[in-house]
């Protein structure tokens, strides 16, 4: 059997395969680079340097508007990511932080539907979250609760006495 002469030289074929392989990597890579650069540029218009932009992205902030809000509330990407994981929005997180709460404390108080100012007042009376929940349930303000508690009353007891017109 005689060998048929191919239309393409072997080396040329190898070169083409190689070119396609490199192209398969380079083309998407170049596209991704272009898109990323465009995004970095758009973030740069809001004052983010390329490194900062990548830092925010690394911590899961792909939305520029959200990142701007967190930055305006004076949060670094790492800290902002922790707060956001606990479902705080930037403005709220800022309030809690300014009221002196760390993330764990804020998350705990907020879980029981305390606003930061209420939480601050209850904390100032020296009560735990559990105590505060029990007293608030009976309609006591932090100061009232403190007076009744110092007089040795439980929340239920205090509520009954108060309903009957009593005082601590």
């Amino acid at each position: 059997m005689s060998e048929e002469r191919s239309g393409m030289n072997v080396w040329r074929a190898r070169f083409l395969v190689g070119l396609i392989a490199v192209g398969a990597f380079l083309v998407p890579y170049a596209c991704a680079m272009l898109i990323e650069n465009a995004l970095v540029q758009s973030w740069a218009r809001y004052g983010f340097s390329p490194e900062q932009t990548r830092e925010w992205w690394r911590h899961g902030f792909r939305s520029r508007a959200t990142a701007v809000q967190w930055r305006a509330s004076r949060f670094e990407p790492r800290e902002a990511a922790s707060w956001e994981t606990n479902r705080f929005i930037a403005a709220e997180a800022k309030e809690w932080k300014q009221a002196g709460f760390d993330l764990a404390g804020a998350a705990e108080w907020r879980r029981y539907a305390f606003r930061h100012e209420e939480a601050g007042e209850w904390q100032a009376t020296g009560m735990s979250v559990g105590d505060a929940v029990s007293w608030r349930k009976q309609g006591f303000s932090p100061r009232e609760a403190q007076r009744w508690k110092e007089a040795g009353h439980s929340p239920m007891n205090a509520a009954e006495r108060r309903a009957a017109g009593g005082s601590p």
């Binding site: 709220e92 539907a113 349930k137 309609g139």
Partner: protein, 813 residues
């Protein structure tokens, strides 16, 4: 329907016209582009001319290097002045230019430059403030010269103005409050009503009180909170003063007032040691009444984890002879209600009701439901037509209701109207129990009981089996006025109620007046209609496949020129159709066409044998009793228009033997469309009002347009040629190809000069088919039916003569 002919588009003339329009637009666009590029390019600004050696010398003496000197020179500042600006602390040319532009000299600017930016400084100076004054105003927070001037005009100094400004009062607001003796903090306290909060956490006040109101109430010795509350609940100032003079605080006065006592009565009863409720009960006991009443009402409300609420209402009803209860005992379950947030905001809800059960004296009893015009359900306990026996009865109703929750960012609220609508029957005692899902902690227990904004109830929270339970007890009889309500509102921690997506969708549907259901019907109906039409089109509307197109040298049998054009032009008869018919008649020897000085006239020349019947009608219409018809004169145009209608009618009948409309297959689709339209509109349960009416108009308009478009689309798509029609179309296509090739050859000068007999014979068909034959010479020799200009018969001129009007003088000549 498609004709299957590839040559329906414009002639070369059309293409020429398009090019003629397009070219100037392109040129204009290119010009604009070039001008823009020129102006935005390097030509835009001329570079600064370099400094001469003398200039360089002068600038160097003032301490400027040539690069800086060039900039100073560009802004029009010389070396000496530039030096003054630098000494004044303004080191850059552009900056100095700004100060200069605001009217500052270097000396002046030196005083202001450390206080404010150039524009603020300019504004302050323009309004007559010295640098020291401006500093004082800015230090108190009033950074705008305009505001400072306004405050100054109302006689306030920087310090006092700063206090007002810090609390966001504009200068115009200040004088009346200040003149009435209110300071900024007091004004803030008295001027604005209760703040309302949105989900973004920002508060704002909807209510604004006047200074006269504030002065009056403050003068009466009331606090701003008391005054605002009194105003909200409708207590006027003179009345409040009366109560105050009688020795009652405002809240106590309101209790006595709600119990129906005047100040002097209340004072006497209080002196006897009675509270308002005791006094009210004593009064009522002394009055013999024949009214029916609800001796007690208790609502047991259990919130389930899926967000639904199980309610059991227990009434003790006293039915007296001749009382308000005539027939069954009724309870209204409202279709729409307002859920009030604790923060005074609200949202509208459309609760659902299911699993309704009723008992009278512990025996199950039917509860018939009647819907009123508002969509409210009126439960008739005992059944329609029944009569509640006289005496005291225990009536119990239970049901499951949804859409009672308000979900906020950090907690949820359950709001329930135990008595939300006026009851016709007074209620002596009312209470409620709210049971929360296990684990949910009460954040607050609030609500309303009594008249507007009254909280005449006590609430107690305790735990039962790990669940928080709130016990409400209204401490006043709800007997006096029909506006008395009993509404409970309990806040609780999040995460214990999980409403399914399906329930959320149903809630949304109810809230939007069944819009989702309506849209669903619309989508299903639309899909059904489109599916039906598609099937109908597939079965009867598709055109038979085109056959092989072979060059034909004769027109399809029986097809007149006008009929061929009628098919090609999608059932239109135009001037070309009439011209082709007239030429066809002339070829058959029925008429002669004569032309003299551009005026055409037709002469009867013989019988129209071998012509189509409508062509004979054309002859009869054009000539009537005479044998000459001058085109473009008198009624000629209207006669030819009449001819067009007759031809159209005749061709329509002929067309129907080749093409079918399949209109009967359209009707079921139209019926489905109509049913969908009706169904989707009937289910809507919108509230009345202008917004709802506008929406309904737009929504129904949209649907009508949608289905009309669909019907119209398929009206055209369902039309199809019959097998004979398809053969006719293929024949026309082949004939057209052959004819076009021959005429093209003639125009290109490839055949003998003059008109060949073949082309002359097929001239009416060539006209009807839109083949370009304007520039051909139709000599008398080849067109025996025409006499006229030496150049021969011109198709274009003849077609134009149908539309053209000729002056009578020229015609008679």
């Amino acid at each position: 329907m498609t004709t299957g002919l590839p040559y329906q588009n414009g002639s070369p003339h059309c293409r020429m016209r398009t090019m003629q329009i397009r070219r100037p637009v392109l040129i204009a666009f290119a010009c604009v582009l070039l001008i823009t590029l020129y102006h935005s390019g390097p030509h835009a600004g001329q570079p600064d001319p370099p400094l001469t050696p003398e200039e360089q010398q002068r600038w160097a003496e003032s301490g400027f290097v040539p690069e800086d000197a060039l900039i100073w020179k560009r802004v029009g500042i010389g070396p000496a002045e530039a030096r003054e600006w630098v000494m004044a602390g303004i080191q850059f040319a552009e900056w100095a230019n700004q100060w200069k532009g605001e009217g500052f000299g270097p000396a002046d600017a030196a005083k202001w430059v450390r206080i404010a930016n150039v524009y603020t400084a300019g504004e302050f100076r323009k309004r007559g403030f010295s640098p020291a004054d401006a500093t004082a105003w800015m230090e108190t927070g009033v950074g705008s010269a305009l505001r400072a001037e306004e405050f100054r005009e109302i006689g306030l100094g920087p310090k006092e103005a700063g206090r007002w400004w810090k609390l966001k009062f504009y200068p115009q607001e200040v004088p009346p409050w200040r003149d009435a003796g209110f300071g900024p903090e007091e004004t803030l306290e008295w001027k604005y009503g209760k703040k309302e909060y949105h989900n973004d956490g920002l508060g704002y006040s909807r209510t604004v009180f006047s200074v006269e109101w504030a002065r009056e109430w403050r003068g009466g010795g009331f606090t701003s909170d008391e005054a605002k509350w009194a105003t909200r609940i409708g207590v006027k100032f003179p009345e409040a003063i009366q109560w105050k003079r009688a020795g009652f605080g405002l809240s106590e006065a309101v209790r006595w007032k709600d119990s129906g006592f005047a100040p002097d009565q209340a004072a006497r009863l209080r002196a006897e040691g009675l509270n308002p409720v005791e006094a009210e009960e004593r009064r009522d006991a002394a009055t013999a009444t024949s009214e029916d009443e609800i001796t007690s009402l208790h609502a047991d409300i259990s919130l389930r984890e899926d967000g639904s609420v199980f309610v059991t209402e227990s009434f003790e009803v006293l039915n007296r002879p001749g009382g308000a209860i005539r027939g069954c005992f009724e309870r209204v379950l409202p279709a729409h209600t307002t859920l009030w947030y604790r923060s005074s905001s609200s949202r509208d809800a459309s609760p659902s009701y299911s699993h309704v059960a009723a008992f009278i004296d512990e025996s199950p009893t039917p509860a018939d439901v009647v819907k009123d015009s508002h969509g409210d359900r009126i439960l008739c306990i005992g059944g329609k037509g029944s009569q509640l026996a006289e005496g005291t009865h225990a009536v119990t109703i239970s049901y499951v209701t949804e859409d009672r929750l308000i979900t906020l960012r950090d907690h949820e609220e359950l709001f329930f109207d135990v008595i939300g609508r006026p009851l016709r029957i007074p209620v002596r005692r009312a209470s409620a129990t709210i049971r929360l899902p296990r684990g949910a902690d009460v954040v607050f227990a609030d609500g309303f009981a009594g008249l507007q904004e009254r909280k005449d109830f006590t609430a107690r929270v305790h735990q039962v089996d790990g669940s928080d339970v709130v016990e409400y007890a209204v401490w006043r009889p709800l007997t006096l006025k029909p506006e008395m309500v009993f509404q409970v509102s309990v806040g609780f921690t999040k995460g214990f109620v999980r409403t399914s997506l399906w329930k959320k969708a149903r809630q949304f549907d109810r809230q939007t007046g069944r819009l989702l259901t309506s849209l669903l019907i619309l989508v299903v109906g639309f899909c059904g209609t489109i599916s039906y039409y598609s099937v109908a089109w597939y079965r009867v509307g598709r055109d038979p496949k085109a056959g092989m197109v072979l060059p034909e040298f004769e027109p399809p049998a029986g097809a007149s020129p006008a009929f061929i054009r009628y098919i090609l032009k999608r059932r239109r008869v135009d001037d070309v159709s009439i011209a082709a018919t007239l030429v066809h008649l002339a070829q058959r020897g029925a008429i002669r066409i004569e032309e003299r000085e551009g005026v055409y006239q037709l002469r009867k020349a013989g019988s129209a044998e071998g012509c189509a019947s409508y062509e004979r009608d054309v002859l009869a219409t054009v000539f009537g009793d005479i044998d000459r018809f001058i085109m473009g004169v008198g009624r000629a145009r209207s006669i030819l228009l009449g001819v067009r209608w007759k031809v159209k009618r005749a061709l329509k009948a002929e067309y129907q033997s080749y093409f079918v409309s399949n209109a009967r297959h359209l009707w079921p689709g139209l019926l489905v469309s109509g049913a969908t339209l009706l169904g989707s509109l009937i289910v809507l349960n919108l509230r009345t009002g202008r917004k709802a009416e506008t929406f309904l108009t737009m929504y129904s308009g949209f649907q009508i347009t949608l289905f009309a478009f669909l019907g119209l689309l398929f009206y055209f798509l369902l039309k199809a040629p019959t097998r004979e029609g398809r053969t006719l179309l293929d024949g026309i296509a082949g004939y057209r190809d052959a004819l076009a090739a021959n005429y093209r050859k003639e125009e290109g000068g490839q055949s003998d000069p003059g008109m060949s007999p073949f082309l002359a014979r097929h001239l009416p068909y060539a006209m009807a088919l839109g083949i370009e034959c304007d520039r051909l010479a139709f000599r008398w020799a080849s067109t025996q039916w025409f006499t006229g200009r030496s150049g021969g018969f011109s198709v274009r001129d003849f077609i134009a003569s149908i539309r053209r009007r000729v002056p009578r003088k020229r015609a008679s000549a």
